[in-house]
């Protein structure tokens, strides 16, 4: 089983190993300054030094991320669906969305502090802002691209009400778009975690913890091996969540198999 998995993913494993090898060679022989680029071995050493704290840091950041993502989903999907299905809703929301969309999540930090204080909701809010728009616009695109033939077929089969058409036709056919929006949002969400944890949050009463928070702390102390370690943690968490979504995509979208050039 393990051997099978290894064989199946050999290109991906090779790609990661090659990346680490290249990093070690460049940092050790070309740069040779841990401040500019710490070596892989120094980062591994930092990992063992901090291994007791890392699970708490990840858990706190995951909670921040999930708060933001949860609200992005419950706000983004309905608004995106309404905008994609009803022309009037599109006209109503579009100017507001397009005005708010270019504002970077970082620019919301001063208001987040005023509105939510230094609570964990502030972090959730910054992540929500970053994650909302990919979900919303992808849902919108999915609904807009719902096949006319599918809608007409559903109508012929007795599905007349808008709510039913949305539920049984538009929503399932938009699902690949929504999932892809969620995948993009998770990536942006992790970027926002670093920004959101920059100012001293409550961290659920656990004190000085959180992946983003610790990254900034070690940056202040010029401990670049630890900074690189927390950057890697962010990367690995993003990768794992992406793989999880890909797995969900494969299982939830079995009907899509054979509709594209590349098998999902």
């Amino acid at each position: 089983m393990l051997m099978n998995n290894l064989k199946k993913n050999k290109i991906q494993i090779f790609s990661i190993l090659f990346f680490l090898f290249l990093w070690q060679i460049i940092s050790q022989y070309l740069i040779n300054d841990p401040l500019i680029l710490p070596t892989v071995s120094e980062v591994i050493k930092a990992f063992f030094e901090l291994s007791a704290n890392i699970p708490t840091d990840i858990a706190v950041s995951l909670l921040h991320l999930s708060t933001g993502l949860f609200f992005a989903l419950i706000v983004g999907i309905p608004i995106g669906a309404l905008m994609g299905w009803y022309g009037n809703a599109d006209q109503l929301f579009d100017p507001i969305i397009e005005m708010l969309r270019p504002i970077p999540p970082l620019a919301w930090i001063p208001f987040a502090i005023i509105w939510f204080g230094l609570s964990d909701y502030s972090a959730g809010y910054i992540i929500f802002i970053g994650a909302l728009f990919p979900i919303l616009t992808n849902t919108y695109t999915g609904f807009r691209n719902t096949s006319k033939r599918l809608v007409e077929a559903a109508k012929v089969l007795g599905c007349k009400k808008n709510i039913d058409l949305i539920r049984y036709v538009a929503l399932p056919s938009s699902f690949p778009y929504i999932l892809s929006g969620i995948r993009i949002s998770i990536g942006i969400g992790w970027m926002c975690v670093v920004a959101a944890e920059m100012f001293g949050l409550d961290n659920y009463g656990l004190g000085n913890v959180g992946v983003g928070n610790m990254l900034w702390q070690y940056y202040s102390l010029h401990m670049m091996d630890r900074v690189a370690l927390y950057m890697l943690i962010l990367g690995v968490m993003g990768l794992l969540m992406d793989r999880l979504l890909k797995y969900a995509e494969t299982n939830l979208l079995r009907w899509k198999k054979g509709t594209n050039i590349r098998q999902i």
């Binding site: 290249l22 460049i26 070309l30 300054d33 841990p34 401040l35 001063p110 502090i113 005023i114 204080g117 230094l118 100012f199 001293g200 004190g207 000085n208 900034w216 702390q217 940056y219 202040s220 102390l221 010029h222 401990m223």
Partner: protein, 332 residues
């Protein structure tokens, strides 16, 4: 066969890109160094000497004699990011707290402290209700206090003072790292209980009636060193005559603060974009003093190093000669 060739091309391209980008940025940096001097400074009354020298054109005066055509200064919210920029080769001279200089030099920064800039000059400010009932450090237990990031003077003084008063800075209260702008916003929005910041930020909060000063840093750690001038090793080794002039200019600017304080206040207010009223109030209510003699702060700086070592910020205790170059000051 074809596959092998393409792998080779990819590998060669990566190496070329890495190599060339390294060369280009290094060359650019070298070329820029010959023409430009960059000075790091923070928006604080502590470092008004640098602001005066810049405003009066004194830096240009000395550097132009050596063919340096451009002098610029960069503002940093606190010492740690300023030292990080110096570690990245962005600064030639830094007006910075002694504590961030210690941690940067301990991490391999090729630079030395050549003069003192100022001592004391920070204050603990609590929200008005807490300040009215404040009796001592024990009142801070369970509170949330914002200060500069770990490795800064303020972080070190605050934690040292708390430990001296048998308060665990990691467990008994929450210390959050912030720059001056964020910390002022946070206390004025009543999101934290207090701040420990350098002048003039405590005065700004007090004038806005959002907090009151309850402790001055000079009382928390008597006559503690604060800001210093850090000069890059390259300047010290290759251009000692310029470093000597930097020191002379710093002394001239420091004397100017005392001889024409009103003008110094105006220059500072303009530079850090605060009203003269705040600067005035700040200088009336602070406990700091502008100094230049590095010999007088050696013990205090080494104590900071000990605090940082005990807090685990640095791996080994630096010696005086690792941190200071007294040779320039000794020539005066």
């Amino acid at each position: 066969m074809k596959k092998n060739k393409s792998y080779k091309y990819i590998a060669m391209t990566i190496l070329l890109i890495v190599g060339l980008s390294g060369c280009t940025s290094q060359q650019q940096a070298e070329e820029e160094k010959l023409n430009t001097i960059t000075i790091g400074v923070q928006p604080s009354t502590h470092q008004v000497a640098e602001m005066i020298a810049m405003d009066k054109g004194w830096w240009d005066e000395i550097f132009s004699k050596y063919g340096i055509t451009k002098t610029k200064d960069k503002l940093f919210p606190s010492g740690p990011p300023e030292m990080h920029a110096m570690l990245g080769g962005e600064l030639d001279i830094a007006y910075v707290g002694a504590a961030p200089a210690i941690s940067a030099i301990s991490k391999g920064l090729d630079a030395k402290i050549i003069a003192a800039v100022q001592i004391s000059g920070s204050a603990l400010v609590l929200t008005p209700e807490l300040a009215d009932n404040y009796t001592g450090p024990n009142d801070l237990i369970g509170k949330k206090i914002a200060t500069f990031p770990p490795g800064s003077i303020q972080d070190s003084v605050l934690k040292h003072w708390l430990i001296q008063n048998n308060i665990n800075p990691d467990k008994d209260l929450r210390i959050v790292a912030m720059g001056p702008g964020d910390a002022i916003t946070a206390i004025e929005a009543e999101q934290i209980d207090g701040v420990f910041l350098p002048a003039p930020s405590p005065s700004k909060i007090e004038l806005d009636k959002k907090g009151k000063m309850v402790e001055l840093s000079g009382a928390m750690w008597p006559d503690h060193a604060c800001c210093v001038i850090v000069v890059s090793g390259k300047l010290i080794r290759e251009y000692p005559e310029i470093v000597k002039e930097i020191l002379d200019t710093h002394i001239r600017a420091t004397n100017y603060i005392y001889s024409d304080t009103d003008d110094a206040k105006k220059i500072c207010a303009k530079k850090i974009k605060l009203s003269e009223e705040v600067i005035d109030y700040s200088l009336e209510h602070w406990d700091g003093a502008w100094v230049t003699d590095p010999r007088k702060i050696v013990d205090s700086v080494l104590s900071f190093a000990k605090v940082q070592y005990d807090l685990g910020y640095i791996e080994k205790m630096p010696k005086q000669e690792d941190l200071f170059d007294m040779s320039f000051y000794n020539q005066i």
